[in-house]
Symmetry: C2
Subunit: 218 residues, 2 copies
């Protein structure tokens, strides 16, 4: 339909986009603030200053809105990861950037993993998340690992197993935030803690915990 877009139409389209974003941003902010994905449509409406009926209008259901949020938040990262693969840097640097990026996503959107698991419990949403997020992520990560193995830099490792190790390790500081507070007395994950966690994980992933003399023994 090659109709010319008038100023008025254009305005409406922008408004639509901005109401849609306002709802997603409100949901994101509320889940981050409250440390739970159990938020109500009326809370989202109140926080965004919009009518909760708009959720139905834009996303069909609350579940649909959560799915859009996951795609918005993670879709960008998936696209970046594909770009990373094509970059002219060595696989070790690529792996470092990749792990840093994952931790940054969890840092910015601490609810994201709970939300993914919630969506995975519904068969239909699970298929969509798998197609748009998990499979592309696993596939690109696999290529990155294979590139490193072929370059003689990485030991041979099963990319599927590595997927769960990396994702679990990246996520757990954030997912386990209650535990961090109650068991370690640390109330907030600030930028400094995020950086230390990233560096410790990277060092462990790349070089292991054993000192060279201990490694040579084994």
């Amino acid at each position: 339909m090659a109709t010319k877009i008038s100023k008025a139409d254009d305005g409406t389209a922008n408004e639509r986009a901005s109401s849609r974003s306002a709802l997603l941003n409100a949901a994101s902010a509320l889940m981050t603030e409250r440390g739970t994905i159990e938020i109500s449509l009326s809370d989202i409406a109140k926080h965004s200053g919009l009518n909760s009926a708009l959720v139905k209008y834009y996303f069909g259901t609350k579940q649909g809105m959560m799915l859009s949020l996951v795609e918005d938040v993670l879709g960008h990262g998936i696209a970046q990861l594909k770009g990373l693969l094509d970059m002219d840097i060595d696989p070790v640097e690529k792996l470092k950037l990749h792990i840093k990026a994952i931790i940054t996503v969890y840092f910015r959107y601490p609810y994201i993993n709970r939300l993914l698991h919630f969506l995975f419990e519904d068969p239909e949403s699970a298929q969509i998340v798998a197609q748009t997020i998990s499979k592309p992520l696993a596939e690109t990560q696999r290529k990155l690992i294979e590139e490193g193995i072929e370059a003689g830099l990485f030991k041979p490792v099963d990319p599927m197993l590595l997927y769960f190790i990396v994702l679990g390790a990246c996520d757990h500081l954030f997912f386990g935030q209650h535990m961090l507070r109650v068991a370690f007395g640390v109330d907030t994950i600030d930028d400094e803690l995020r950086r230390r966690y990233t560096n410790t994980l990277l060092d462990l992933m790349l070089n292991g915990i054993l000192k060279e003399n201990a490694a040579a023994r084994g």
Copy 2:
């Protein structure tokens, strides 16, 4: 109260213990089977063949029953871990046994981490889990790591950060079981997969992913 226990009283005590266990076993079996911690008291009653009022009698509330289940399942492992510290084997072997034991717990009780996080959302339960499970685990793990560092076998690493890396990596294959199924087409975690996951994680934790030549470069 030093009253002599008659045969009849003793029988009653055994019955109490066995009804209590039957309820906990039913809850454990149902959560494992269904892949969710959302189970009802009437399901537990049906599965155990006992009246659901007994939950109130033994545990006060369903939350109380879940707390007892976590303590039953994990308390044993915490005790074993303390025993491990005192064993006359080297810290590398201790760390290996420790990580294997954690994965085995997740393998046998795949719901355990969800349950912990559920309990951590309630301030009162969180305090109890922290005191009986998380703090002793973190504390014993810290001693194990410090022993390895002092023996010149481990690189210096922050035990708190390592706690989240190890727990997250151990758990994620199980916690992410929906993802395993939908994104990788793997329906069940069998003993062989558990073993491969354990070995891959151990190798990564101890020696890292970099080949020696690549590690020397960095």
